[in-house]
């Protein structure tokens, strides 16, 4: 059975394999090898038989083909109502067909499925909210991604990402040492401005264990410092774990369920090891979805909950504002029109719409809702791993038009996006469409707005 050296059915488990994949610029050789990759039809059908249960089977069977899902899909709208972008059509042509053929499909079909599962669906699950039968095509596309991953049909970046999680327990090649060093560096860097600022690593019995997105230590270490400053000002007893600090899961986007389990267990082990009271997750949507919402299931926790109570960052911010741990200087509230990007992963799929509004009521004088909003908001255009996949850049950029128009309609020039994926997508959207907007996480905005107690301010410089 022909398998490539880079593109194959085996997950990446060694640093050497990872290096080889990374050295293959843009996955050129990887995708060439994919053209030769044979489908193990027997294994595919066996997996389907084992994992396709009544929920999904019924969804595929009873779909009335009413088409109400069409307008719920931002891809359908962004692609000028192309009927081929109707969710019911997309899933029937891919997963539905694969099942009808009992897994008897060829390479071309699998590649088509991969292209559709990643560039025509971000698993935002909005369609499920508009279907009278509650058929959640986003969930089915995620299931399809798992089947594709098992056969080696997965975008190059996702194969790498899943491998990273398996090797580093992080979506990027960051070792425990790198992470701890970054925390120490950031604490030192900001200590002068914030006397007493610490980033406590592996402190036991803290009130809060804070976990992040690997992009923060890798690309935006100041985000960790900002989190530290806000915890510091709020007087929180907090810590970060030296291991189990990564919340994200490219493995979830890749459909590598085994790696998903390994990843979330590293976080849960940190909870057990350090015995904190609660966990706070950084401003990331899919990280929260992976580790807090879906993670307990991958780890086989029958409670369906994380071992300790877990909060998204916006929940902590709302609580800190509500209880007065953080106070906003009224003079520094955001005066200009500002809008909020509801992330699919923690708003529609996490129930935090009201929490986001509560924060806005404290910090913004002219908050403008997008239309639609809350649970009904559209995907930023970069969800489901799409931001990171070069092969589908064009499709992603077309999809972003919906978010662009939504933002423009608010009249706001500032978009608050407490989600790494949304933040990235909106940044790229501005780069491509140049609509003259700015975008931000909550942390830097809050730091500029909070009232800092005297004793936490740096000592005044003696006048010369």
């Amino acid at each position: 059975m022909p398998e490539g050296t880079l593109c194959n059915k085996k997950p990446v488990t060694t640093k050497e394999q990872l290096q080889a994949l990374l050295a293959d610029k843009s996955g050129k050789q990887y995708y060439e090898e994919m053209n030769e990759l044979e489908v193990d039809r027997k294994a595919l059908w066996a997996t389907i038989q084992k994992s396709l249960k009544s929920r999904t089977k019924t969804w595929l069977e009873i779909c009335s083909h009413c088409g109400l899902c069409a307008e719920s899909c931002f891809y359908y709208l962004a692609n000028r109502r192309d009927p081929e972008q109707v969710p019911a059509y997309k899933i029937q042509r891919t997963l539905g067909e694969m099942i009808r053929r009992k897994g008897g499909v060829d390479n071309a079909f699998m590649q088509m499925c991969m292209d559709w599962a990643y560039s025509r669906c971000t698993c935002c699950t909005r369609c499920g909210v508009y279907c009278p039968f509650g058929i959640d095509t986003g969930v089915m596309f995620s299931y399809l991604r798992g089947l594709l991953y098992g056969q080696g049909f997965v975008p190059w970046e996702m194969k790498i990402g899943a491998g990273m999680h398996r090797i580093f327990r992080a979506q990027m090649d960051i070792t425990t040492e790198d992470w701890v060093d970054t925390c120490e560096w950031m604490a030192e860097e900001y200590e002068e401005d914030w006397p007493g600022l610490k980033i406590p690593v592996d402190k036991k019995d803290a009130d809060i264990i804070y976990t992040v997105n690997a992009r923060e230590p890798k690309h935006y270490p100041e985000d960790i410092a900002e989190a530290a400053i806000l915890f510091h000002v709020a007087g929180e007893n907090w810590t970060v774990p030296s291991e189990g600090w990564e919340e994200t899961s490219l493995a979830m986007f890749a459909g590598d369920w085994e790696a998903c389990k390994l990843q979330v267990e590293s976080v849960y082990h940190a909870m057990e090891r350090l015995n904190p009271k609660r966990m706070v997750v950084t401003e990331c949507g899919h990280a929260y979805r992976a580790t807090v919402i879906e993670g307990p299931y991958w780890a086989g926790l029958e409670s369906g909950k994380t071992p300790i109570e877990s909060l998204h960052y916006i929940e902590w911010v709302a609580e800190a504002l509500r209880t007065g741990k953080l106070k906003i200087d009224p003079a520094k509230k955001i005066k200009e029109p500002v809008t909020y990007q509801d992330s699919c992963n923690y708003i529609r799929n996490g129930g935090l719409a009201d929490v986001a509004r509560e924060i806005m009521s404290y910090i913004a004088e002219d908050f403008r809702e997008m239309t639609p909003n809350r649970e009904h908001n559209f995907c930023c255009g970069g969800g489901g791993g799409l931001n990171g996949i070069g092969r589908y850049r064009e499709q992603r950029n077309i999809g972003m038009k919906i978010k662009r128009d939504q933002v423009l309609a608010t009249g706001a020039k500032l978009v608050i996006a407490p989600c790494h994926n949304c933040w990235d997508a909106i940044r790229d959207m501005e780069e491509i469409y140049e609509i003259g907007i700015r975008w931000s996480f909550l942390k830097p905005l809050l730091i500029n707005m909070i009232e800092v107690p005297e004793h936490l301010k740096p000592p005044e410089e003696p006048e010369a």
Partner: protein
């Protein structure tokens, strides 16, 4: 033939209908898998029940959800059709006379003109849904012959019933067509996509539990359908 179709065949049709739906329902519930579906059906029951009920109730009423409100004409005709499907056969005078003759009891009945109105409403609704399937590209692309067949199966008893009622004295051919198509409709419910007669409630409850238990139900006010 008439005796058979209004006697033993009724038992056969309703037997298939009831047993078929029970099998469908039991298989659906047994096939739910908390780990694969990633919903703890058994452990967070109160959230699950609340989520399921919200999910069913909002969708059970016309214009109760964002999706129904966004598609006002579709919603109108779909609800009209389903209302006609349920109400007309159960409360039709003719059916209840038959019921009294065979089993010795009958139900409250609709005035005949109202029943006639319901019948016309079903036929018009089906015509609307057929035209919609043809006219809208986003519906046409997912429509197959099977979808038309189901509409045909569902509307046939109403067309033939209407003709039988209005073609006295020579009503026998239409009546026979009505009885046969009625049996086909009842048998088709558990055996085809029309099983959404029951499975609508099942799949709605399932997604409601998903949202109620896992996707925010424990933190928010419940999904805003």
């Amino acid at each position: 033939m008439y005796e058979f179709l209004t006697g033993p065949m009724v038992w056969i049709s309703f037997g298939i209908f009831i047993i078929g739906l029970i099998v469908r329902g039991v298989r659906y519930v047994r096939g739910l898998d908390w780990k694969l579906d990633r919903v703890t059906y058994h452990t967070n029951v109160s959230y699950g029940v609340k989520g399921a009920l919200r999910s069913i109730l909002f969708w059970l009423f016309p214009y109760g959800t964002r999706s129904w409100r966004k598609n006002p004409w579709f919603t109108l005709w779909v609800f009209a059709m389903h209302l006609g499907f349920l109400v007309t056969p159960i409360f039709l005078l003719g059916h209840n006379i038959l019921l009294k003759e065979k089993w010795g009891f009958s139900l409250w009945t609709l005035p005949e003109a109202v029943a006639d109105g319901f019948t016309v409403m079903v036929i018009v609704s089906v015509v609307f849904l057929i035209l919609r399937r043809i006219a809208l590209p986003e519906v046409r692309i997912i429509t197959s012959w099977y979808d038309y067949l189901l509409l045909l199966i569902a509307v046939s008893p109403f067309i033939s019933g209407f003709l039988a009622y209005h073609s006295l004295p020579n009503y026998y051919p239409a009546l026979m067509a009505h009885i046969v198509s009625g049996h086909i409709f009842i048998i088709a419910i558990p055996l085809t996509k029309l099983s959404h007669f029951l499975l609508f409630f099942m799949t709605r409850a399932q997604l409601g539990m998903d949202y109620g238990i896992k996707r925010g139900g424990m933190k928010g006010k419940g999904m805003a359908w």
